[in-house]
């Protein structure tokens, strides 16, 4: 079996990726084996580039290939509004809406007692420093609508409000296109809390 050593090594590596099990890893490995050499080189190059060229923005902690990042430097972005999210891929989700033109702050997680993640493990101090410099008018807390995200948002609000900045929380509640009849009590309760004037 030694001649299959390299193949097994690839399967082992692929299996360590999130969402990929033993069967999936094997399928991918055989797929790569069948691919033209150039295609595989391109994939290897892309993986190496990501590690070598992508870093974290020193201002907002989003992923970027230039530090500070586009959102922290571009003239077209309104840096008096900061949208706080848990992870870099949340930035991409907000950007897809094309509704938001401000800056971001990525916490790199949420308060999670079960995972042992406390305030010191999150990028909270740099957020307070940014707001403390006085150029920020509003902080939008866009952490996830679950126990960890809620705890994080309430915790941040307590720290931010004394700095004299407007603190808002994204609305939680009913998914668009759903039916109130089938919503559970907490969802309706949260939707009522987040109601707005028309």
């Amino acid at each position: 079996m030694t001649e299959l050593g390299p193949l097994q090594a690839l399967v082992d590596q692929l299996q360590r990726l999130p969402g990929i099990g033993a069967k999936g890893a094997q399928r991918l490995a055989f797929h790569l084996l069948r691919q033209p050499r150039d295609d595989v080189e391109a994939l290897v190059g892309a993986i190496r580039d990501v590690k070598e060229r992508i870093t974290y923005c020193s201002v907002c902690h989003n992923i970027t290939d230039a530090d500070p990042c586009y959102y922290c430097t571009h003239d077209g972005r309104d840096r008096s509004v900061i949208c706080v999210v848990e992870d870099p891929h949340n930035v991409a989700a907000v950007e897809r809406t094309k509704e938001f033109n401000g800056a971001y702050h990525v916490l790199m997680g949420a308060l999670s007692p079960l995972q042992g993640v406390g305030p010191d493990e999150l990028r909270i101090k740099s957020l307070l420093d940014r707001v403390g410099r006085g150029e920020v008018a509003e902080v939008i807390l866009a952490t996830n609508p679950n126990v960890e995200g809620e705890a994080t948002a309430i915790y941040l609000a307590k720290l931010l409000k004394p700095l004299g900045v407007r603190v808002t929380r994204i609305a939680m509640g009913l998914p668009v296109g759903s039916d109130i009849e089938y919503a559970d009590d907490v969802t309706i309760h949260k939707a009522m809390e987040g109601r707005r004037d028309l």
Partner: protein, 252 residues
């Protein structure tokens, strides 16, 4: 594949594959189980919002032959910790869930533990102060596991403990102030003993009328954490975070 419906408490979840979750839950009738919730990480999943730790709900699952993991069909939340709106309460959600998860063995029915957990979420959602609730929860959890020492009489002389007591260094018993050796920690004042006496008698929702001073809360916390550490033989992951979040960073 028989379908079981049950009252249950969600304890925690783990990501599985692209869109699924493994859910650890405590049923009222069959103890702790693990199951797969297919598609639970999609926004429009029938499970969305229902799998937060300490959510109490009505759920249904399929047993699969020779498999430890059951397949969850649905979870209808009855009471959710998301109804509470303080950092202290939300931080304790994970702590309560971790304690139950650590203590409940798989598939070993324990209806009392389920009822304790369910009552605690209800009280959290109702906005009860979390300090007394947490001490109450620890007291009953440890009692149900048979590791809380008797709180009415000194284990040495049988004397009354209402004036105060001390957890003996060995860990297992409470002694009165006369029998207690010179201070080596683990002391409980008369106020702390009064809280325990009340906790024996009331439901968690009635805790609002039972006072607990900050000092007595600290004493009980120390004694309970000592008992928990001794019996679990480990430090809870959530404890450090809960403590850093309840030390209220500012005055309010």
């Amino acid at each position: 594949m028989p379908l079981h419906a049950a009252d249950a408490l969600i304890l925690r979840t783990y990501k599985l594959g692209e869109a699924d979750r493994i859910v650890v839950f405590l049923t009222a009738d069959r103890g702790k189980r693990r199951g797969v919730a297919k598609g639970a990480r999609r926004t429009r999943s029938p499970f969305s919002g229902a799998l937060e730790p300490m959510t109490r709900g009505r759920l249904a699952y399929f047993e699969r032959e020779r498999r430890e993991l059951v397949r969850l069909r649905y979870v209808e939340p009855v009471c959710s910790p998301l109804a509470s709106d303080s950092v202290e309460a939300l931080a304790h959600v994970g702590y309560f869930a971790e304690l139950i998860d650590e203590w409940a063995p798989e598939a070993d029915p324990n209806e009392k533990l389920f009822r304790l957990g369910a009552a605690v979420v209800e009280s959290l959602a109702a906005g009860l102060p979390v300090g007394p609730l947490a001490r109450y929860f620890e007291f009953w959890l440890l009692r149900l596991q048979g590791v809380y020492p008797p709180v009415t009489a000194c284990s040495r002389c049988g004397g009354d403990l209402s004036a105060g007591g001390r957890l003996e260094a060995g860990g297992g018993t409470l002694v009165c102030v006369q029998c207690a050796p010179p201070d080596e920690g683990g002391g409980l004042s008369a106020a702390a003993m009064a809280f325990l006496a009340a906790a024996r008698a009331v439901a968690p929702l009635e805790l609002g009328s039972v006072g607990l001073s900050a000092a007595a809360d600290r004493e009980l916390t120390r004694v309970h954490q000592r008992l928990i550490r001794t019996h679990l033989d480990k430090e809870l992951k959530s404890l450090r975070v809960v403590q850093s979040l309840t030390r209220a960073p500012r005055g309010d």
